[in-house]
Amino acid sequence: MHWGGIVSKLVVDVESKLVKLLSSFINLVVVKLPDDVYAKLCELRSREDSAWGKFIYDAMFRNIELALQRRAPLCQDTGVLEFFISLGEDFPHKSALLKALREAVIASTQQGFLRPNVVDPVSDRNTGNNVGPRVPWVEVEVVPGASHADVRLYVAGGGSSRPGRATTLDPAEGWEGLVRLVVDTVIEYGAAACPPLFVGIGIGATVNMAAKLSKVALLRPLGSRNPEPKVARLEEVLEEELNKLGIGPQGLGGLTTVGAVHIEYAGRHPATFAVAISTACWALRKGHLRIYPDMTCEPLSHRGEKLEY
């Protein structure tokens, strides 16, 4: 009996199905804001009282509607894609899922849902299909005892990624140094990053820990707080105070400069207090897709949406 052929055909089927599914997921994330972001924008809009700000919110909400009607990416800058993948230990399609990511990105680019953004830094040429050296960026973790896979996607334009900073402070500067860095970043780079902004802050022993956690912070559902009460309080205080800067929607002045501040931390070293800041624009495009062993799935960030595959 020659099972080999049949087995490999099944693998190919699963992989091509996953390419389709992931590509549909990417397309959904660039067209439609997740439920929590949409709800937050409605709240921010009702809080804004500057004439400019209201005018800009009107344009934003018209754009959100038009993107859905036309099934077109709501912002032309669809970034360089970042995937955060939690693979259940018992999820049966682990390698198929990881292999399918690149093909899914290429497919979405060909369909006009992603602008070709990836530039090879050595040749200085745009690769034309959004894949290139080490990108799409993929972070993988294995979850013991789970049988499903969670795919989280983060899409951010260059403008909103530009304020990103990471540095190692001395422990003596610590939290105060962090506050100075955040305030300075929002003032100096915030206006061009399409406010109201979402601010993710990471803390750790080294810059790579802090930088990763700043993205994890941005992916956390809006409305949630860090479980440590002191850190949760700092998130609130930063939100209140940064909004006093008056930068406002699109940097033209107003009450709503930041929509949320999220902080995530890891243990630090006695000699270091590494901090990183990542900012997201008002159009915070993130998605969370759960895939089950039988290949059924749920877009947890976009309730009620059906994905084709």
Partner: protein, 205 residues
């Protein structure tokens, strides 16, 4: 502002008086031709001294890199919105001087050199709401051409026929007034007070 009368300007701009009458904060729409020009185009024109392949006199340039798809009849614009204008601050004075462009569209504001150019060469800088790419594309009637496509889709010069393209908020007027810089200066002035306030509240924790 939504309460203000909406002004439509035709490009190429032939009557400078209209531009001169605009003040920071005014809202306008453009009907006519706009051409995308961002980092690489500015670098080519200003630093490498290459003449732009499109006559930009009186036109509007847009700091933007669109999503385009190629169809049988030509290119179609799917999504187009502004990129961060301050990256073009290094070049914009000379770009306006060399090309005779009259309206610059972008986001986030521009600095003192651009304001100086706007005053000297009677041009304006306007902001299109960032992230509103589909709203932008909905006002593009036709993609009439593309130049310097070797720079890649986001960086090429896309020539667009637009109708009521906007809303565009005047952020630097032809007299050199600078709205975004005023907001930035005011935020900088609050920096120490806001930082102190957070640190104080942090101590209580």
């Amino acid at each position: 502002m939504s309460t203000k009368e909406e002004l439509t300007i035709r490009t190429p701009v032939v009557n400078e008086a209209v531009l001169m009458s605009l003040k920071v904060g005014d809202v306008l729409y453009i009907t006519g031709t706009i051409v995308t020009a961002r980092d690489a185009v500015h670098k080519r024109v200003v630093r490498e001294g290459k003449p732009p392949p499109v006559d930009l006199r009186g036109l509007a340039i847009f700091h933007a890199g669109p999503v385009m798809i190629r169809e049988a009849e030509g290119w179609r614009c799917i999504s187009i919105g502004p990129t961060t204008s301050r990256r073009m601050e290094y070049y914009e004075y000379e770009f306006i001087e060399k090309t005779g462009v009259k309206i610059v569209i972008g986001k986030g504001g521009m600095g003192a050199r651009t304001a100086e150019a706007c005053k000297k060469f009677k041009a304006i800088y306007t902001i299109f709401p960032g992230g509103c790419g589909v709203l932008g594309a909905s006002r593009v009637k036709r993609v009439t051409g593309v130049e310097w496509l070797d720079l890649g889709i986001p960086e090429a010069m896309w020539i667009l026929e637009v109708e009521n393209f906007g809303p565009l908020i005047v952020a630097i007027d032809a007299h050199g007034n600078n709205l975004a810089d005023a907001v930035l200066d005011s935020a900088r002035a609050k920096k120490d007070a806001v930082t102190r306030e957070i640190v104080e509240k942090l101590r209580i924790l």
